[in-house]
């Protein structure tokens, strides 16, 4: 069982002149939760839909659970759970009716009751789908993906547009599934989500993987664990050599410094810079990694 859950090499997808996926390599290991993190339009959904067998690549090879699309479709479909970025399940079917419908497509799978408990929708089982809240609808969509008891779960932006509480509820569902030793591949543009759920993250930009590793590794690659943002009349280059400072760059409204030891760096910064009008610090995040790599923010 050492084979990868998902492997793709030199994946390319072009729509006419537009290249959505531009030579993307990926390997998702069994039992891990793997995240594709990137801004809107980075090619995440296109990539995932190719891996799900819903879109054909222009070039490149794809292997899912050791099988190939077009050759092993039937067997593969039985073992995947898929939640698309947007699916409107039939509004006038109840939660339970929708789940029974999806359950009926699979040879093996879970009991409806079991899945309802997993996503905490048991008391909504007789409600029409249209009566559910956004978070409940999204959990139902994930429930439809879990009803087959899949080996591999695809979630395309599962929490986009949800309130923080609904988001946390959905994270619990994903963590519960992962705890069973199953594999998850999810896309997101929330760095917090990737840090919380994912064992490994691939940062995607313009159809390419620009960084790959555990969230901790990626953040460590910045050279410091803290970020200091300040607004002052000073050039970034003047600050990059200060003690404890590992990197400096111009940000949208001032200067951002990556810092290793805050207690050493901060006095030095304040001594060098006159007329600081604003200063704040935060723990370095995947967002900072993305900004460091591309000069842009994730949610632009």
């Amino acid at each position: 069982m050492t084979e990868a859950a998902v492997r793709c090499e030199k994946l390319v997808k072009r729509y006419g002149e537009v290249t959505a996926v531009d030579g993307l390599d990926l390997e998702v290991r069994r039992g891990e939760c793997f995240g594709l993190l990137g801004p809107n339009g980075a090619g995440k959904t296109t990539t995932v839909e190719i891996l799900e067998g819903l879109n054909d690549p222009t070039a490149g090879t794809v292997e899912v659970l050791g099988m190939r699309w077009t050759r092993d479709d039937k067997a593969l479909r039985q073992r995947l759970g898929i939640s698309l970025q947007e699916t409107h399940l039939p509004e006038k079917l109840t939660v339970e009716e929708n789940l029974r419908l999806f359950r009926s497509f699979y040879q093996r799978g879970r009991e409806i009751d079991e899945v309802l408990d997993l996503v905490e929708l048991r008391d909504k089982r007789r409600s029409w789908t249209e009566k559910l809240s956004g978070g409940q609808k999204q959990r139902l969509a994930v429930a439809c993906a879990l009803v087959s008891d899949p080996d591999l779960l695809f979630l395309d932006e599962p929490t986009t547009g949800l309130d923080p509480q609904s988001r946390r509820q959905l994270w619990d569902v994903v963590l519960g599934f992962k705890a069973l030793g199953r594999t998850v591949l999810l896309t997101t543009h929330y760095m917090e989500e990737a840090e919380r759920l994912c064992d490994r993250v691939a940062i995607i930009d313009k159809g390419k993987v620009i960084a790959l590793g555990t969230p901790a590794e990626l953040i460590a690659s910045l050279g410091g664990e803290e970020v200091v943002e300040l607004a002052a009349e000073v050039l970034p280059e003047d600050l990059s050599t200060l003690p404890g400072v590992r990197g400096a760059r111009r940000s949208a409204d001032g200067i951002a410094l990556t810092v290793e030891h805050l207690h050493i760096a901060l006095p030095a910064i304040l001594q060098r810079v006159r007329g600081v009008t604003r200063l704040s610090t935060h723990h370095a995040s995947l967002e900072d990694v993305f900004v460091h790599l591309t000069g842009r923010h994730l949610r632009e």
Binding site: R77, I82, L84, T87, H88, P90, L101, F102, S104
Partner: protein
Amino acid sequence: MNAPLTDRSRPNSLWELTLARLRLFFREPGAIFWTFGFPLVLSIALGIAFRNRQPEPVHIAVESPELATRLRGEQIRVHLLDAGAARTALRTGKVELVVQPGPPIVYLFDPTRPESRLARALADAALHPRGAPATVDKPVTEPGSRYIDFLIPGLIGMTIMSSGMWGIGYVVVEMRTRKLLKRLVATPMSKAQFLWSFVIMRSLFLFLELPILLGFGKLIFDVGVAGSLPLLVAVSCAGALSFAGLGLLVASRAQNTQTVSGLINLVMLPMFVASGVFFSTARFPDAVQPYLRVLPLTALNDALRAVMIDGSGVRAIGPQILVLAAVTAASFAVALRIFRWR
């Protein structure tokens, strides 16, 4: 321990798909009205408008009292008016004919109006009696020859067409725009079963649509079925299948509901007019008759009327069944080839 659990908990997918279709239909009050209520309302309205009634008298304007006395009779209502008022009454359709005193007596009328020509004939007969005619009038109102007898089979055909086209065409495209089709093909669902669920739903609906219209026609207007009832059901099924195919065909590529609504109307409107729902196709020129005959609704209506009115058997409606079968086969074949699942 695992094996029996999975078998027990697996519902049958064709059954679940069909059940979902039926549930979604019956939970949509608008759809229920347009499928079942609308044809009934239409048949009541038309039944009343074209009911059989006593022949109405013609209205004639005259300018002299002497002529009025000579013309007045059971079938003629006389209006004594001056010349100007008489012309106005004729122009606005309040009278069919103006008779001006002579000599010679002058008839003013529009020869393109059948009522005017009738009024002229009646006036002529009243002014120049030549003895009793040697003929006797006998009005015919036997079941089978009335307008409502013609209309009910046409309405059944129309209902089968529109509920098939909308019930499949529109619904499938809506599922595509809502990304539900894409979600379904991401499962191991059998595409054939998915399409079958629509065909089964349409066939089941016939057993609601047919009794409602037939029972209504029988109760209110005494419209019976002269031929075999099973044959009528079979003909309706053949019609439902061909419109299921056409519904699927218009839905096979359309990306939004506006497009498919346009396509459905494009397919249905010519047949509403030209396939003999409300009036006989015989009114169209001979040159276009062969084209009208291969329209599926014409074939369906002709076959329904043959069974309901003339009591025809299978053999007599062979050509119509053949047209319906051909439309079914061709539309399903093309639709499946070009169908867009994602």
